[in-house]
Symmetry: C2
DNA sequence: GTCTATATGAGGATAGAC
DNA sequence: GTCTATCCTCATATAGAC
């Protein structure tokens, strides 16, 4: 049965080669630039042969998205070793943003294009998907912030985690769409954001929504 | 010279009609669905005739972006009447997010696709562009927060404004890409975010970056 | 079984007839 | 000024060669 094994192995390698080249194209030129023809040229096969390995262009995109979530997870994991929740919040935030800056087209693909990719990963996939594991890093930070007395509000940890996530996503996605705006450097934004959120969550006085805090009275 | 005037007027009207139909297509089906052929069918002219009014599809996109910035500006202006900076922050934030939810495809076009559109507006255009005026609403809030003693940090108003903007953008853009995630409802996120930022900016104790605040010591 | 060649139909853009 | 005809690029599908 060695022949079948070799054939299977070769087919798998061929498939992987297609994915590798596709990733290169996306990384360099963005997802929109990924065409079956261009990809076929790169792998030195006809376009039709790609369809023997992938149902369509979308299936390639979905697989590459998962690669992207994996890369992001590695970035985050490396930064999530810090014990202290506040330090970890800052480290992971910086890692998240630096991933986006380093792999802008991948970030666009996984978080700024079709909702189908990310939803497939979060909803259908198992708990061990890279995207879910990344989210749990974030959730862990929110829980630790609460545990260590860094926040006093009533918000659930998942809400705090979502707030932090949207924050980082906001910075990187706006930067990718508009390289010159906001003019504040990304690093400054990450630092200011992190500090403001930590202090906001842990603030002792919680002014009732809508009322002006006493400090402002002197106006 | 009345004939020339009528001709000019008719041409202008025709151009406007193209834009109107294009806006409808984008609003309903998204920018990707805007094809010259489909547009031609709507206006009941040949596709080639569109090129007499617009250099290419991109030029239509750019003009529609400006319409979009104008619509956003109107949303924000209506919410920016409130005198109190904190209340205004919340009102404008809600308006920003509700614009994004109400006109998702327009939002995608102006803030989530090509950097060229937004950069053209912010950089090349005059101070009176809708995008610049919108930004100044935000900047005004940041300045008023500072003036009324709501924040004590060293961050410049423009940095605070950018932080607030990225925050709102993060919420809406993540929601548009991933309708089921984050699971926290948009309204909850906006409220939590607004509260956390106001309290974070105004917090009395400013723990030195990297040190754990005293509350956490008990861990 | 795996590939090449080719067909189909959508789309952007343009030349040239009227 | 408007149209038809056309060219190019693209995703996708399939027939049939090997």
């Amino acid at each position: 049965m060695g022949i079948k094994e070799r054939r299977d192995r070769e087919k798998k390698e061929h498939r992987q080669r297609i994915l590798d080249e596709a990733l290169q194209i996306i990384t360099k030129e963005g997802f929109a630039a990924l065409s079956m023809r261009k990809l076929a040229e790169k792998i030195e096969y006809s376009a039709a042969s790609i369809y023997l390995h992938f149902r369509n262009r979308d299936e390639i995109a979905r697989e590459l998205s998962e690669v992207g979530y994996g890369q992001l997870f590695e970035f985050l994991t490396a930064a999530a070793q810090e014990k202290d929740a506040v330090k970890r919040l800052r480290a992971v935030g910086e890692a998240y943003v630096s991933f986006g800056l380093k792999h802008p087209e991948i970030y666009r693909l996984i978080f700024m294009s079709d909702a189908a990719y990310i939803e497939a990963v979060f909803i259908e996939n198992n708990e061990d998907s890279a995207a879910n594991k990344s989210y749990r890093i974030l959730l862990g930070i929110a829980e630790d912030l609460k545990r260590s007395g860094h926040y006093r509000g009533k918000a659930a940890s998942s809400e705090v985690a979502d707030m932090i996530w949207t924050t980082w996503h906001g910075i990187i996605s706006l930067k990718l769409t508009c390289t010159n705006f906001p003019m504040t450097p990304v690093e400054t934004l990450v630092a200011l954001m992190g500090k403001t959120i930590v202090e906001g969550l842990g603030a002792k006085r919680l002014p009732v929504s809508g009322r002006t805090p006493s400090v402002a009275k002197k106006r």
